[in-house]
Amino acid sequence: MLADILNTLPQVLVDGLALGAIYAVIALGYTMVYGILELINFAHGEIFMTGAFIGVAMLILMTGMGWLAAMPAILALILVLVVTSILTGFMGVGIERMAYRPLRNSPKLITLISAIGVSFLLQDLVRFITEYKRGNYILTGPSMFNSQFTIKFSSVSSSFSDAFFKTSTLILIICVVVMMVALDFFVNKTKWGMAMRAVAQDRDTASLMSINVNKVISLTFFIGSALGGATGVLFAVQYGTIDPYIGFILGLKAFTAAVLGGIGNIRGAMAGGIMLGLLEMFAAANLQLLTNGVLGAEYKDVFAFAILIIVLIFKPEGLFGKAVTEKV
């Protein structure tokens, strides 16, 4: 049994890393907003989904006009990523402005309901527009970056088999790493990042230090949503087919990843996302083996979430979170 697990491990690692990278960036959006407003922004998964649709729509449009064939694919992707992240970024800012800011002083639960409302609204809006334009709400993007690579794990040790991956996986992982490093730098080393951390800790005091709190909150939504939208594009390129409901379950899992890493903690969200991705892929590949065929790969979520529960029982603040001590 161990030999079989080892055998598939390289492929599990590659696939898990790709999936985990997506979870991680979306988890960032949840964790940043939670850190600053203590709000679980349930619409964030839908921003990711909208990003995927905007990206695919642009790619289809560019194919139709012959631009995609005319320019290097990577250039086209970068262009689409930039435009999509700007659009979804402003969308996030708009959602905060219209659906959350008027409720800032009401109980947290009210804002949460508002977030759920926004999320349904976006799902149906995207579904309506896509169906209206294309006659079908399931969208398949142009096939890009499909050449296969092989990492020869078998040459390291004969107990491993080779791992395969597409160019798009490589691009996905590189993009995610760039986004994470940039965000980490921004938050920890710049004036606006510092303002963000100050607002997250104590909004009133920060405002007495001449920090424009509303501006910082808008900025947080912009960055979180821009990253989420860009990840949507990468997701669409990696997995090909998208529908308006991908944001729900993916968002839920990314939120889980954020909790796993310690909600409000940016580095924790990154680690939590990668971990959840790896766990899920590991379960998908090995669950049948581990349970003698009782549970199939479709129970991978059960496995991943069981791990989450166990972690939270022993470490309720999450892996990287700080235990909150009650102030007396």
Binding site: R197, S207, L208, S210, L219
Partner: protein, 258 residues
């Protein structure tokens, strides 16, 4: 010349009148104390000046500009900084970063410049670190720069709050019970420090304080609040002998023995 003019200011919370028709004029470069029994409305008075609360009536003027209707961050930009009765540092970030937050308004970097990390922005961040360090040296906390603020001793946290406030280069500095919880030696040091600050930095200081020794020693002008109303003002010697003030603190029987 007066730097802060509060005229006829009023603030009501439901049926409770927290501050009622209070006037105050603060001379530039002076040290003014606001005193009064607990619940007299002193902190509310500070909150009205810094924009945390909006006054129901009356006007607050810094120099020649009115502060009524401005948000706290806008008032802070005009040059008012404060510390808090209950220490309110950003406790999970480092000592140096706390002071750098105080520098926020002086840094010109916009969001776009920050995203692209232009040379100017990077140089500015570097200068900000140096300046924050300078303020830490000024209050004697330079050796703690990389510690988390919450790990400092109580007295050191108070000084860090002052450093953070000073970093914003205020024209007017409001100190809310700076000596609260300090032992006599720390209070003595604080008294000297407040004097030094005023002389070195040319800043006007208004403080709320319960430690009468400190108040009498330090202030040039004193305002006494009780139940939201101003009951007396004047020089320390005048306040010390004011019948109404003694009454407010000790009760009527202290003035007219039964």
């Amino acid at each position: 010349m007066s730097i802060l003019t509060v005229s006829n200011i009023k603030k009501q919370f439901g049926g409770l009148v927290a501050v009622n028709s209070v006037d105050m004029t603060v001379e530039k470069g002076s040290i003014t104390a606001v005193i009064g029994p607990n619940g007299a409305g002193k902190t509310t008075f500070f909150n009205l000046i810094t924009g945390v609360y909006q006054p129901d009536e009356g006007n607050v003027q810094l120099g020649s500009s009115s502060l009524v209707g401005l948000k706290p961050h806008e008032i802070s930009r005009l040059g008012i900084a404060r510390t808090f009765q209950n220490i309110r540092l950003f406790s999970n970030i480092t000592v140096l970063e706390n002071v750098m937050v105080g520098l926020h308004k002086q840094l010109k970097a916009g969001i776009v410049g920050t995203l692209f990390q232009t040379k100017k922005v990077r140089e500015e961040e570097l200068r900000a670190q140096e300046e924050a360090y300078h303020w830490l040296e000024y209050v004697g906390l330079a050796q703690h720069l990389n510690e988390e603020a919450q790990n400092l001793s109580y007295g050191a946290q108070r000084r860090l709050e002052i450093a953070r406030a000073l970093a914003s280069k205020p024209r007017l500095l409001l100190l809310d019970e700076p000596a609260a919880g300090m032992n006599p030696r720390e209070t003595r040091e604080l008294t000297e420090f407040i004097h030094r600050m005023r002389d070195d930095l040319n800043v006007t200081i208004v403080l709320i304080e319960h430690d009468m020794k400190l108040v009498m020693e330090i202030s040039e002008h004193i305002i006494v609040l009780d139940h939201g109303e101003k009951i007396a003002e004047g020089k320390p010697a005048e306040i010390r002998n004011n019948v109404k003030v003694i009454e407010a603190y000790l009760g009527k029987s202290a003035v007219t023995p039964a």
